[in-house]
Symmetry: C2
Subunit: 252 residues, 2 copies
């Protein structure tokens, strides 16, 4: 399968590496930056391209993994393609690609970092397609990558993307704030790492609402007051502590 990759960020990089490992032939990598196109192209043995007019029109799959607001711009320029054109965005409607003959969405519900390998067995892929025939093809490709596969329409995909902001982006920010508290007192983040793993592992077999712990859920107001006092001098952290403690009490 000949693949053209439009984009050179984290998602583009990990998809290219995974597709190549499963036998796909990634022939071109486009990026608006010459340099970024070159880096990813070198990594996977493809041709770097920074002019959309030079994109090969005979590939079987065009993977558009760029910033959300660039998808529409690119699809307005990239014409004359009969292969499969998919984007990888959680927040973008499938309709942005409806000018193509064969189009769909290939949304990985996972967080990608350039510095870290990713096991595609652990990447849920959310598929949407402009036709049943395209869905069949997307499922074949997703199946090769090995992770769980879901059919998800644009409306539900946006909800998934929003829930991921809570379960990933905001979670990481809570780690950041925990570390801010430690740093103030020269304590090492390493001490928190086992707790962070166990907190994630606990919800792998249970629902989070069943395993909530801490002062807020047991209405231990004395401890909450002590914590707010420790945060004197950090009004931003105090506000977040109060807002989230109240939210836990409302939920339980």
């Amino acid at each position: 399968m000949k693949v053209v990759c439009i984009g050179s960020g984290n998602v583009a990089t990990h998809f290219c590496v995974a597709l190549k490992a499963k036998g796909a032939d990634v022939i071109q990598v486009w990026s608006k930056s010459d340099e970024n196109a070159a880096v990813l192209a070198r990594l996977i043995g493809a041709q770097p391209v920074s002019d959309l007019a030079l994109i090969d029109k005979t590939a079987a799959l065009y993977l558009i993994a760029v910033k959300d607001d660039a998808i529409a711009e690119i699809s307005a320029v990239l014409k004359g393609i009969s292969g499969l054109v998919v984007h990888t965005s959680g927040a973008t409607d499938i309709s942005v690609l409806s000018g193509y003959e064969n189009y769909g969405v290939f949304y990985p519900l996972q967080t990608f970092s350039k510095s870290r390998g990713i096991d595609f067995n652990k990447v849920p892929l959310c598929l949407e397609a402009g036709s049943e025939q395209v869905m069949k093809r997307l499922k074949e490709i997703a199946g090769k990558l090995g992770g769980p596969v879901y059919e998800v329409d644009s409306r539900k995909r946006k909800i998934l993307h929003l829930s991921a902001v809570f379960a990933c982006n905001f979670v990481n920010h809570m780690y950041v704030l925990g570390n801010v508290v430690l740093n103030e007192h020269r304590l090492d983040f390493e001490m928190l790492r086992p707790l962070i793993m166990e907190t994630a592992e606990k919800v792998q077999a249970d629902l989070p609402v069943n395993v909530q712990t801490g002062p807020a859920v047991r209405h231990d107001e004395q401890t909450e007051l002590k914590h707010l006092q420790l945060l004197t001098g950090a009004p931003q952290l105090q506000e977040i502590y109060q807002t989230l403690s109240n939210s836990i009490k409302k939920t339980h």
Copy 2:
């Protein structure tokens, strides 16, 4: 080593099981509830006790794992002990036990659930002692349990406890809110589980501030607006979304 356990909750249960597995002889379990004392005592082959006057005075270790505000009450009643008396509380000063000859703190920086086994290799133990001799004994006991061991004074222990509220309790609440969003649209929490694991694993080798992703950190205000619109009807979630997005922007 003869051990008396004061308390029958999650922490008491997991410590008793772990100490017994390492060869300790847990002879008594006290709880103010007859029933709870009986359940844990049966589990580990100890004698259940619900009257503090009946506590054996000859044990080597008295582990006080009860609610924070009960520690002072218990230590006011439980007298005439020359063995080691320790509490397991993050938020309670060591001085609450200073009436004893040999006293200290044995604070596990981990989240415990009754329904889930725990590997003590992954439980950081934060030790504080009333004397060097007691610290030596605490380190011996902690060493047998196998996890990382830290010397932490009362002031720093309270900071650790606070940071754990962010990195564990608030994190779990973010999982809860992620699931609230999914439930509204009949999407399954299972879809988020791989993302949750990867988010935790990412900070095992890196600092969270280096791996923050999402709309807020990249100042993608269009996506933020769309997310806030999706949360119309859930003003509490909107407020949290806004507060945390602002905090991410201030941090980065």
